[in-house]
Amino acid sequence: MSATTVGVSAEPAKRVGRLEPAALAGVMSRDVVIFGRYWKATTFSSVMQPTIYLLAFGLGFGTLLKTIGHVKTIEYIGTGTVATAVLFSSAFPGMFNTFIRWQFQRTYDAILAAPVDVEELITAEVLWISLRAGVYGVVPLLVAMLFGLEPNAGMLLVPLIGFVTGFGFAAFGVLIAAVAKTIDNFNYVTSAVLTPMFLVAGTFFPISTLPDGVRQVAQVNPLYHCVQLVRDASLGGLGAADLGHAAVLLAFALLMWRLAISQLGKRLID
């Protein structure tokens, strides 16, 4: 008879793994509490901004142009504004919140003294910003509906597209905060990177009208892929090309996430 000792093998050492949900939830609970104080201002600006764009471009251009490319002006601007809303609500918090909490308030020092690793801290912060960006990215569509944009079932994908894009740009912001020596250096990034990025992405005019060189650059702009995806989903034109757009956004998010962790990690841990 073979002895069958049901092996309660040596008690496994109580190990805590990487990217623990409890750590992520803890860091994000702080963001939620802070959001509870500022949601009115955040919501106000996220509604005002697309409204102004739609009024300026929609009413301004709209009287001159009935369509942009083969899309109605309101549809073009309405969907383009989603991308700008996602960009602004993710890249800026990524840059400023990170820098302020890390350098001025030293919040990150306090959190890292608790059982939270750099990877968890940054992932939670980026996750929170991108969830918010996904939600606020829908606001321009709602505003555009008031100006005549027709609802479409594909629009239900917009929060997800906003989330993935926002994840990449929030992590991009964290990366910039990690390498910027001072908060003033953000001005270089804002004017030299973000502003052209937000304009040359097919947001307000098609990139096909641009010279060859610029158009090629525009095609590596992640925001361009976000715009295309949002437009195709919202106007009922999803196709095979959109898998490519989604892949670019996912790759961008993954790359920025890892770079943000490695670069900020180097500076948070001496």
Binding site: K14, R15, V16, A22, A23, A25, G26, V27, S29, R30, V33, I34, R37, Q105, R106, T107, D109, A110, I111, L112, A113, A114, P115, V116, D117, L268, I269, D270
Partner: protein, 298 residues
């Protein structure tokens, strides 16, 4: 014999060409209040940061609560609390909100969180201010909140980095009472300080740190006896008189130091009446500290 709460062996930490910690050996037994005393720049804060793996040693071994650092640092951080020297509270949140967030970060079970926050508020005497935003708290209250935050999960080891720096005497007394209470409750406390009196009052054992190393260790009384003797004569007078007294001391090989407006001559009990006229007082930890770490300010 139980294992030490903290053990460092041959730990080195460099920042560029500066050696902040230079071959540090330190053992903190469980259940004591251990004072790390040293001048500014001696490497105390760097040592504290290495214990939470917020700074990584270039050489040597570190173990905290039996966990090997940095590999198992997260587990160690679960079971210890940290009170930093610099105020890093969230100024936009209320006391209760901060404590609730940290209760989560320290994995206090959801059913116990409210009670843990309440307990910490009571401990830090902040119950009446529970819903006040940190920005509106006084310096003393903020420091107490920092302590409460580090104790939210009832850790068995607490690191206090310069806990009373910049506080007025009343607040300092109050914090001392709190720290002493922890020790009586069986919590191991490692406290860095450059306030001699703080170490003298609170610490069971004091290690004096200078230039990144421990230069002496013992109970405060042992250190005083070993490095300053029993009695000190303080000679007061105009600068010429002090210079003269200093010369006499040097000639006779007496251990002396400038102590503000006076010259303090150590080990007065062994001078057989040869000591110059002055005020006799018992030697204290400050005498031993200066003898160990030098008079010059760097």
């Amino acid at each position: 014999m139980s294992e030490p709460a903290i053990s460092l062996r041959g730990v080195v930490k460099r920042y560029g060409s500066i050696v902040a910690v230079d071959g540090l050996d330190l053992e903190v037994p469980a259940g004591v209040c251990f004072g790390l005393l040293g001048p500014n720049g001696a490497g105390k804060s760097t040592t504290m940061r290495m214990l939470t793996a917020q700074a990584l040693a270039d050489a040597g071994e570190i173990a905290v609560l039996g966990y090997e650092l940095p590999r198992e640092s997260k587990q160690a951080r679960m079971e210890m609390g940290v009170v930093p020297q610099l105020d890093n509270l969230d100024v936009e949140l209320t006391c209760r909100q901060i404590l609730t967030v940290f209760a989560r970060l320290y994995r206090v079970a959801s059913g116990e969180r409210t009670a843990a926050v309440e307990r910490a508020l009571v401990l830090a005497n902040l119950l009446p201010r529970a819903d006040t935003i940190v920005r509106e708290l006084s310096g003393g209250m903020r420091r107490r909140l920092l302590v409460a935050r580090g104790l939210i999960h009832e850790p068995r080891l607490v690191l206090l980095d310069e806990p009373t720096v910049g506080l007025d005497p009343q607040v300092r007394q109050e914090l001392w009472t709190l720290i002493d209470g922890l020790r009586s409750g069986g919590v191991t406390v490692l406290m860095s300080t450059h306030y001699i009196e703080e170490a003298e009052r609170l610490a069971d054992t004091v290690a004096v740190m200078s230039h990144g190393k421990i230069v002496a260790q013992g109970t405060p009384a042992e250190l005083v006896r070993a490095y300053a003797g029993e009695q000190v004569v303080e000679v007061y007078g105009p600068p010429e008189k002090l210079a003269e007294a200093s010369e006499i001391a040097a000639r006779n090989g007496w251990q002396s130091r400038r102590s503000g407006p006076a010259l303090a001559i150590m080990r007065a009990e062994s001078l057989d009446g040869e000591a110059p006229d002055g005020v006799r007082r018992p030697a204290n930890l400050e005498d031993a500290f200066v003898a160990l770490t030098g008079e010059e300010i760097e």
